[in-house]
Amino acid sequence: MTTATALRRSPLHDVQALSGAKFIDFYGWELPVQYTSIIDEHQSTRQAAGLFDISHMGQIMIEGPEAFDFIQILITGDLQRTFDKGLGVYGHLLLPTGGIIDDIFVYGLKEAKRFFMVVNGSTREKDVAWLRKNVSSGVTITDLENRAGFAIQGPKALEIIKATLAGIAELPRFAFQQIQGGAPNDTFWGCRTGYTGEEGAEFFGSARTIITLWKQLMENGAASGLKPCGLGARDTLRLEVGYPLYGHELTENRTSLEANMEWAVKWNKGDFVGRGALEKQKREGLKEILLAYELTGRGVPRQGARLYKDGKPGGETTSGTFSPSLQKGIGLAYAPVSWNNAGSILEVEIHGKRVPAKVVRPPFYKKGTL
């Protein structure tokens, strides 16, 4: 992959280019990294609202009389919640070793026996292969093509949505609806989810519908300060609230427990792939865990930055950045479990120098609207 022509383009590419987006290669997708400035876009989302292209994310439809049982056995979350409460269900797809294949959201329509799964763009092909490998009769898996999606996030997101669409803004967090609208005779999914720690929603649908909705929201939101945002701000926003990113915090070499996400493992739901490995790990105790740290000295930690405690090495940063809200360096790192005490003093190696840091309890940024 050496030229831009080899990169996949989002259906929202042209509308974003018109808004001044600067594009980069993100796992084979040409996506906007920023429009004006990462910090400006970050602050717009914290103070008003931001619009984020998420068309690279995989959208998979799973249907059939056996679809519920099929999904329930493959995820750590409890799919029953999508029927009982009408909520999207977050979970991990695990290997039998407990290693994380991906983190996903799944939304289910009981009557129709249809489930809509949203997966990471970087793992989409692997996820589809994993689903197909485990598929049983009575289940159909469709990796949806020519789809698009965006997120609208921020304290003003809900009022901007209300001015454009009925229903979604009134739903509780994590709830979803399949909605008639967008392009003529089309439907799309509206989900009260996001990746910034702010109120908002994510919309998924056909390219033409999502382009229509994007333009309507941009128009209706301009007066409230809605700005299109790139991947740069998406990363600083998610990291400030301690959300993990697949390929960084979440990998096939780490389990849901090591990722400090036992809340995403619903032990009461019954069996699921990887359960035995997680139970064993819980019984024997973890060696390492994902912890959060803030620099107390100057600098910006990056992925790979090593951690020290009392002069001894023992951890490695999986994501790090400069927090625009806190005006300091922040990071997530795998380190010995015994290091994970809020207030513990660490050192982080940045450009060969050890910079003081302290362990904190995420989220780093605590003033989000969620």
Binding site: K22, V33, Q34, S37, I38, I39, G232, T236, R298, G299, V300, R302, T321, F322, P324, H351
Partner: protein, 131 residues
């Protein structure tokens, strides 16, 4: 304010006044680097050769080396950048200057690009290799 600037392929500019050269990064570079959040103050008295790393800066995106466009001895740093590193983005040619040096070999200035040549260089595609 701005007299003629000369440019290095690594995207620093230098403005020469007698034996003193003032150095910053180009408008193109500040856009590539994105929001600057820390600037390491260069060491006063440090002797650098053309192309040596003089100091570093950090943006939200990554860390970047700032190279000396010509040889000399560093005489001054822009301390305003310590409290407001974003000056590099807001005013790359004036308030966002990074350091000054006493030039040891004035002939090296003529080996740098003029502004016109630099703008051509940016269009050439070769520029991307020098970030």
């Amino acid at each position: 304010m701005s007299t003629a600037r000369h440019y290095a392929k690594s995207h620093e500019w230098i403005r020469v006044d007698g034996k003193t050269g003032t150095v910053g990064i180009s408008d193109h570079a500040q856009k590539e680097v994105t929001d600057v959040v820390y600037v390491e103050m260069a060491k006063i008295g440090k002797v650098v050769k053309a192309g040596d790393e003089a100091t570093t800066l950090e943006s939200v995106k990554a860390a970047f080396s700032i190279y000396a466009p010509v040889s000399g001895t560093i005489t001054k740093t822009n301390n305003a950048l310590e409290s407001d590193p974003g000056l590099i983005n807001k005013s790359p040619f004036d308030e966002g200057w990074i350091f000054a040096l006493e030039i040891s070999n004035p002939a090296e200035v003529n080996q740098l690009m003029t502004e016109e040549q630099y703008l051509e260089f940016l269009k050439s595609g070769e520029a991307a290799a020098h970030h």
